[in-house]
Every structure is written in C-alpha cells, then in structure tokens.
C-alpha cells in the first residue's frame, strides 16, 4: 500500500495538514513537555517523589476506590442495562435518557450535591449515621463519587450487547429444558462478557483520573482521603513542577495501559460478534 490510496476527492492535504498541526500543538507538544520534564529529573528524585509514603497512600485510595466503584458499576450497570432492555415500565425512556446525566453534569456540581446528600445531616446521610456509617469525608464518599461519574460507561457498554443477545438461542435452550439460570450462564453471559469487561475498564479509567467531584466529598486528608490528582495539584501549588510532572507521568502511563486494554477488549468483542453472525 502506498502512503495514500488515490481518490477523486480533493482536500486531503489541507485537512490532513490542519489535523496533524492542530493535534501537535494542542495535544502532542504539551504531552511531550510533561514526559521530558519528568524524565529530566534525577532518577533518585523521581523515585523518591513517586514512591513517597504520601504518594503511595494516594495511589492506594485512587486505585482502590476506582476498582471498587468500577465493580459496583459492573453489578448495577448490568442490572440497569438489563432492566432497560428487557422490561417495559412507566418512565423507562426517561430513565434511559437520565443515565447520561453524569456525563453532562459538571463534576463540581456532582461533588457538592453528593456531599450534601450524604453528609451527616443530609437526606441519606442521616439514616446511615445511626449505623456508624460515615460517607462524606471518608473513602466511602470517594468511592460513591467515582461510582456516580463512571456509572454511564458501564450501562452504555452493556446495553447494546444485551440487545444483540439472540433470543432464539435462549428460546431453544429453554425449550430443551434448560432452567433460567442455566440459560443465563451458558447463553447470555458469554455474549456479554466482552461488553461487561469493556464497561468495567472504561469506568475504572474514568474514575482514576477524576478530580472535580471527589475533592468536595473526600475531606482531602493526606494519606487517608487524598487522591493522586489532588496530590498533583498540591505539588503545583507549592511550585514543585518536577514533583507534579513525575506523578503526572505515572498517571499518564497507567492511563495509556488502560486505553490499550480497552482497545484490545473491544477488538475481542467485535471478533465474538463476527463469529456469532456467521
């Protein structure tokens, strides 16, 4: 294949040139600046920043809470998607549209609203208080905020896969005497596993980088309720650009690994679909 296949349409040079130029200025050059800044540090300084007790504490919270939030969404995302696809009930279309609300709602708004609902005297927080469950200003609050903002990813990944499930296969299984649970495990689950995993990974990737909604509900105590993006901001506020860049690089590398995983999972899902339609 030559560099570009011939076409009668004009404008390739103009649009391709503009695209790559703009991409370089807005995205690639700034990313290069971060990588260069972090790698120009002394190895010792880099590792002592990235592996400091405070940084390790922030990774534990950021990754732990994100994993938990993604797992919660794996379960509830599936239940919601199933409800929307399989059952008809009043208000279904409204709920379906509302699923995207966390995408559209600015994170600062989610943050202050969740905090006021789950604070000790909040609508829901007051009923949890007698059981000794504190949500706002603890790691639970962080998990809750991450669950809210990553929920649409899980639902929207599973929904199309559930629609694709071939009902005639389900019918055949049940006609042949399979129970509902057996049919679910052997017919439905295998078709939607790639979608479930994609939703999980997308939710996790979004949750790890989240900042706006978390800082209001977390209380921001070092080592306890301090997420990694907040630690980066703290480094910046102390004009420690190197330290911020080092932590930024760690997060960036993790994001790229996640992105790669998502692409592989989606390729796997497509391959399965092709096999199913054959």
């Amino acid at each position: 294949m030559s560099l570009r296949q011939p076409s009668v349409l004009p404008g390739f040079g103009l649009t391709f040139g503009f695209t790559t130029l703009f991409l370089s200025i807005i995205v690639l050059l700034p990313l290069a600046a971060l990588v260069l800044r972090a790698t120009s540090m002394h190895w010792g300084d880099f590792w002592s920043t990235v592996l400091s007790a405070r940084a390790l504490g922030s990774y534990r919270l950021s990754f732990g809470a994100s994993l938990l939030a993604a797992s919660i969404n794996l379960v509830f995302g599936f239940i919601i998607a199933w409800t929307l696809v399989r059952y008809e009930f009043p208000g279904r279309k409204l709920i379906d549209a509302l699923i995207d609300m966390p995408f559209a709602l600015p994170t600062a708004v989610s943050g202050i609203a969740l905090t006021s609902v789950f604070a000790q005297n909040g609508w829901i927080g007051q009923y949890l208080e007698p059981f000794g469950i504190k949500v706002a200003y603890t790691w639970l609050g962080v998990t809750l905020a991450l669950t809210l903002i990553s929920m649409p990813f899980a639902v929207r990944a599973v929904q199309p896969a559930l629609i694709e499930v071939q009902r005639d296969l389900e019918d055949a299984a049940e006609t042949l005497g399979a129970g509902r649970l057996y049919t679910f495990r052997r017919i439905i689950l295998p078709t939607i596993v790639p979608a479930l995993l994609t939703g999980f990974t997308l939710a996790f990737a979004r949750a790890v980088g989240e900042y706006g909604s978390v800082i209001f509900i977390s209380g921001n105590l070092p080592m306890k309720t301090e997420i990694t993006p907040l630690l980066i901001v703290i480094h910046l506020e102390q004009f420690d650009y190197q330290g911020a860049a080092a932590l930024g690089l760690v997060m960036l590398v993790i994001s790229f690994v996640m992105l790669l995983t998502i692409n592989l999972l989606q390729a796997w899902g497509r391959r399965d679909q092709v096999r199913a339609t054959r």
Partner: protein, 288 residues
C-alpha cells in the same frame, strides 16, 4: 442509545413463561434495584441542587445573580465556550474529512491520538499547560519578558478547555462519515463541483445531526470543566473564575445558597444538553 421498537416488547410479553410468579418477582427485583440505585446516587443529588438553591425562596435565589463576581464567572464561561467550541468544530470537520474520506497509512494511529485527551486526567491536562507556559515552564521566561500571560489568565483557561474537549466533535463525525460513504461526494466532484461546494452542499447536510450532537457534547464539557481549568486558572475572582470554579469558592466560604444557585444553572445546562441529545437521537441518528 438503546431504544427498542415497541413491537419488541409486545414480542417479549407474548413469550411463554413470561407470566409465571417467578418471572414477576425477578422483574420487580430488577426494576426496584435499578430505580433505587439511581434514586440514591443520581436523582437525590440532582434534586438537592434545586432544593438547596431555592431554600430561601425565589427572590433570595435571584439575588445570587446580582453578585458581580457570579456574573463575571458566567460571562467567562460563556466566552470560553464561544471560543473553544467553534475551533474544535472546525478541527472535527477537518479531521473527519481527512480520516473518513481517504485511505492512508497510520490512520488508526491518528484516531487513537485524537482520542488521547479522553484518557488523560483533567488535572494532568491542566498540568501540561502549566509546564509549557508557567513561570518555570518551557516558554515561561520568554513570555514573562514579553509581558504575555497564558497560565493564570484567559488563554490558559481556553487552552486547557480545548485540550479536554478536543475529540468530542471529531469522534462523532469520523464513524458517521465512514458509514455514509463517499459516493455522493464523488458524484458531485465528477460532475464538476469544487471541493468547497461539495463540502457545503453535499457533506455538511448529510452529517448535520452528528455535527450538532458533537457540538452539544463539546459545549457541555467546555462549560462544565473543572479539574483542568482549576489548575491553570489561578482563581482570580472576577477575572479567571469560571462557573464551576466559582461554585468551589462559594462552597468553601460556606455560601451554600450561592454555590447551589450557580450549580442549578449548570444542572439546567446539563438537562438541556440531554434533551437536545435525545431529540437528535429521535431523528434516527445513533451513537457509534
């Protein structure tokens, strides 16, 4: 979005085994769990925004919008969106034309690079521009000598917003244009129409709903962005404070009425975004 034709539900209802008590219980469990989860995590926070904002009556609510700093924040947010959305729209159109209309080497690499900002934490997006244009940054000294400020000023806010909303229009248009194909454009060109005429009279009408869809999402994110803008803004009241940042300042001053009043505007914006999005999906346009 998943919208099933109504006949699918009629089909479901007529299936054998759909009227047993077990099925009814399972159905009830699923619907209650879904609605309960959404009510606690999504609907309660949404309702609380308006309850808190209107807690002392309509006139107290409206008073918040007489505050000059709040007005300045609203103006800055509108200005930022007015600059960022058109630029990213032009970029999205150019990128989708290059990618969807031509076959070239490195295409999938280019698509991945365009999607990159979606995988980057907003805080890091802000950090990138501080590292480039901040006082200790690459161009920091030069900018200071020439008395140009980017970070902690308007250009920084716009650059950071442009970064986080970069892929929104492009990722709507690329799959749409690929799906619609090149036949009509090729016919137009073969019949003697110029490139620009073909673009404005053939391509643009074809992809109009995808374009609006992408622009609406881009606008929503541009107006609501917090993390990236927070890092580059410097939080100067009346000057570099956008609406989301102003919410944080009011909230940290325990001015909850004010914070939720500004939040209610952004919530309305989100609601409008969802309505427009749903209406576009009604036209038959589907997300890919």
């Amino acid at each position: 979005m998943a919208v099933l034709p109504t006949s699918a539900f009629a089909d479901l209802a007529s299936r054998p085994g759909q009227r047993t008590w077990l099925h009814a219980i399972v159905r009830w469990l699923f619907i209650t769990t879904s609605l309960g989860f959404l009510a606690a995590v999504l609907l309660a926070p949404l309702a609380t925004v308006f309850v808190m904002a209107l807690g002392r009556g309509i006139s107290a609510y409206l008073d918040n919008f007489r505050d000059p700093y709040t007005l300045a924040a609203i103006r800055l947010t509108l200005l930022t969106a007015a600059v960022v959305v058109p630029i990213n729209t032009v970029f999205g159109l150019a990128a989708s034309w290059a990618i969807a209309k031509f076959e070239f080497r490195g295409k999938s690499m280019l698509i991945t690079l365009i999607d990159l900002p979606l995988a980057v934490s907003p805080v890091i997006a802000g950090l990138l521009f501080v590292l480039l244009f901040g006082l200790q940054g690459w161009f920091g000294l030069w900018l200071q000598q020439h008395d140009i400020s980017i970070v902690f000023a308007l250009p920084g806010i716009m650059l950071a917003t442009m970064f986080v909303t970069f892929p929104y229009v492009a990722r709507e248009l690329i799959p749409l244009m690929e799906q619609l194909g090149n036949d009509e454009e090729e016919a137009a060109i073969t019949l003697g129409a110029g490139g620009w005429l073909t673009f404005f009279r053939v391509t643009l009408p074809k992809v109009r709903w995808g374009l609006v869809y992408g622009m609406v999402l881009c606008n929503s994110r541009a107006m609501g962005e917090f993390g990236a803008v927070s890092v580059v803004s410097g939080h100067v009241r009346g000057l570099t404070n956008t609406m989301p940042l102003h919410i944080e300042i009011l909230y940290n001053e325990y001015n909850f009425l004010g914070a939720f009043a500004v939040a209610s505007l952004l919530t309305l914006l989100a609601a409008v975004t969802l309505v427009v999005k749903t209406l576009i999906e009604r036209t038959g346009y589907r997300r890919h």
